[in-house]
Symmetry: D2
Subunit: 148 residues, 4 copies
């Protein structure tokens, strides 16, 4: 991941592609925005929306898990190209700090992009916050024949 390789889909192409294959993420409100894409990495913003709250007036774990899973998906596509059937096989999340009622920013990078499995790491912070609110690792399975 240290060589300056171009992503398989650039930012504009990735945004259009995701809108085309994954319209469900914008159901009821458009809150997920792809801000940056590199080869095997990306940055995603989840705009604050009260539908993501939980008791205690903080953002729900479910919202953070959805954000992380989406970031991993985009990072996988950025490495292997148009493989919409790449699926999560495993995800593990640690919730570190209570997030503010603010946007969440997810930075994702792949630790491994293999022929069959990709493993990535996501760090989620609150907009303006220094310390991460959550940390995630996840594994995606890529269908046989995926392009790199």
């Amino acid at each position: 991941m240290t060589k300056p390789r171009l992503p398989a889909l650039d930012l504009e192409t990735m945004r259009d592609y995701i809108d085309e294959i994954f319209p469900e993420i914008h159901h009821s409100a458009r809150t997920l925005f792809i801000e940056a894409v590199a080869h095997g990495a990306c940055r995603i913003r989840m705009r604050y929306h009260p539908k993501h709250l939980r008791p205690g007036g903080t953002l729900s774990g479910a919202a953070m898990m959805m954000l992380a899973d989406f970031a991993l998906y985009v990072a996988v596509l950025s490495a292997v190209g148009r493989e919409p059937l790449a699926v999560t096989t495993n995800l593990s999340i640690n919730f570190l700090r209570k997030p503010d009622k603010a946007d969440l920013v997810a930075e994702c990078r792949l630790l491994k992009a293999g022929k069959r499995l990709c493993v990535g790491e996501v760090t989620i912070t609150s907009e303006g916050g220094e310390e991460p609110v959550a940390h995630v690792t996840g594994t995606f399975s890529v269908p046989p024949g995926a392009r790199d």
Copy 2:
């Protein structure tokens, strides 16, 4: 968890309590239904809804993670009582099989209900399916002073 203890909140009370403290789960459509509650255990149904789909026409990992996190929350409340600020500290999910376009049913039981931490396990199946589609373990932190 083998003694026949009564849940801290019975089924009707739990449903009313969740509706009161966690209205966000029904944003845009009511899909989560608490079907059964025991002491440190519960069964939750997630009604099929196209908003939960992802590329490939299958239910998204995010939907299954939300279902599991909700099931763990209800199971924790069933053991410790009205503690709305119980929060997930860690969750780990294995996606086992592609779910059908059908309801998902989550069976949750606590493996440990301690003074500070509760650990639970969730098995998710597709309505009518035999083999689980996902398996989850998660840890919740309970604020000091929780009633049992």
Copy 3:
């Protein structure tokens, strides 16, 4: 996993096979014993030994992780046969209770035995204890061409 299928290797054969391919587990002291094998399931005993202790006079997390990983490996072999190069890709453990200075017993069952990935669950108890001391889920990758 509900059909009464025979394990790919029966108990005696599994014990001999493991001794042949994995002698390292008995370095310095023989503490791991395969007590039962079914198709996609097994029971392993880790005999108490002071080398497995940690500060506080309790069995170390490392000992429990080794026991769980070994149980998963045996369960995978019981489903796919002689595939010594099956490797762990992911393991997640929750430590629930402090184990006694006693034998540990691990019960393992596979949640999924696929062509490429097997996912299993391990429950570890202290000899004579009722409640589990640890719970584990793990994923193994099986080399292409594995027999079932």
Copy 4:
């Protein structure tokens, strides 16, 4: 973790302290070496030893898990001081690449050092290797009254 705080125990003190409270890690052969300690971070070397091998002539998952758990323990002590009863509550590991028959080096940093829970991340590489062979996240529980 970005402020240049001194570790609660410096390198020499930490080495002596671990030797005193955790002699079991050196049973049969001294393979774990604490190379560096900072506040909430450390670097540990696991010297290559054939006792850590598994089928396929590679280092076992169990050896890597032990290394990671030990690194997390040292990192926790470096932040909270002499708290030998700090215990792992949860650990999750992704095995990324097959390690060489060489030393393993673990770099650990805490993502959170709370009053009750510490969460850390460990990256394990083979001596001389560029890409990590394993990545771990773990949570430790610190007994009430821990000094910082």
